[in-house]
């Protein structure tokens, strides 16, 4: 299976994504430069973390206008799975693939540590290897991860069961203490309507090797491989 990682000036998790995709999918991912208007046919696209365009104007705003993002939007609408991690999530909201916005963390500080996420549903191609309502441990590293959506959008996300992950404690319980950035309703990740686009602030690609402290991220990529092979 072929995969692609989009590379913007200022991306810094593109290589982590590359390593994660290679470890799970096998083949060498295509690294696609932001200025390209096209890319080969691929089965899966990652929009990686980092500080695309130096976070100028708003995190993700400039990247959303880049030539390659028009193609990513087209592919996503055609059903190709797209995973936006951290800055990638910000870019997906700015490009209109996902609703809402990521604002400055409520505590104003850059937060870099492991958090727990509750698996809200495990019947999507991204989460089939996880158990619903259990907690996994995944690192975050962001300044603008405070998810916001207006009341109507939030109601829609809940009604359509499109919340992927919520920040929780180690036992899966939601609390303000376990919410690292003030995200509305503890939201750490959301799906698009067709469930083929996932945006999340935490970094599953950073926790896939025991030598790096854990492997809770592995199941996300393995689940994708299984779903796409089926």
């Amino acid at each position: 299976m072929k995969t692609a990682v989009i590379v913007f000036p200022g991306s810094n998790c593109d290589r982590d994504a590359q390593v994660a995709l290679k470890a799970s999918f096998g083949g060498e991912p295509v690294m696609v430069w932001h200025g390209d208007a096209d890319m080969p046919a691929v089965d899966m696209i990652v929009v990686p973390g980092g500080f695309s365009y130096g976070d100028y104007l708003r995190s993700g705003a400039m990247a959303a206008t880049s030539p390659i993002m028009r193609e990513v939007v087209k592919r996503a609408n055609a059903g190709v799975p797209v995973l936006g991690i951290c800055n990638g999530f910000q870019i997906l909201t700015e490009s209109g693939l996902l609703p809402g916005a990521l604002m400055r963390n409520a505590g104003l500080k850059f937060v870099c540590r492991d958090v727990h996420l509750r698996i809200e549903r495990n019947d999507t191609m991204f989460t089939s290897r996880y158990t619903q309502n259990t907690a996994i441990r995944i690192p975050i590293a962001h300044h603008d991860g405070n998810y916001f959506a207006d009341a109507d959008t939030l109601a829609m996300l809940k009604g359509e069961n499109r919340i992927a992950f919520r920040y929780c404690d180690g036992n899966g319980n939601l609390s303000d203490d376990a919410n690292p950035n003030g995200s509305i309703d503890h939201i750490a990740g959301i799906y698009n309507e067709k469930l083929n686009v996932l945006g999340m602030m935490p970094h599953p690609e950073r926790l896939m090797d025991p030598a790096l402290g854990g492997t809770d991220g592995t199941a996300l990529f393995e689940g994708l491989v299984e779903a796409l092979a089926a």
């Binding site: 705003a61 206008t65 609703p99 916005a101 604002m103 400055r104 963390n105 916001f148 959506a149 003030g182």
Partner: protein, 80 residues
């Protein structure tokens, strides 16, 4: 022709930076500040000479890029 765009977080959207500035003002002894909201100003120099056309164009720029209307409002000031 010059245009100034003021981008502000919508009312009801928490502005943590404004809150921090408000607290800092209080700790400096400036009492009586009820609320602080922080935004940004973007200045544009345009070739356009017609005020109404300029306003329309800048509004489109705001909708497409300069503001994120999920969380922000914008106001346009045209200076002849």
């Amino acid at each position: 022709m010059k245009a100034k765009v003021h981008v502000m977080l919508k009312n009801g959207v928490l502005d943590p930076q404004g809150k921090a500035v408000e607290n800092a003002l209080g700790s400096l002894g400036f009492d009586g500040v009820q609320d602080v909201r922080q935004g940004k100003v973007i200045e544009l120099t345009l070739n356009e000479t017609d005020i109404e056309t300029a306003r329309t164009n800048v509004a489109q720029m705001c909708e497409k890029l300069l503001a994120n209307t999920v969380i922000e409002n914008y106001a346009i000031e045209i200076e002849g």
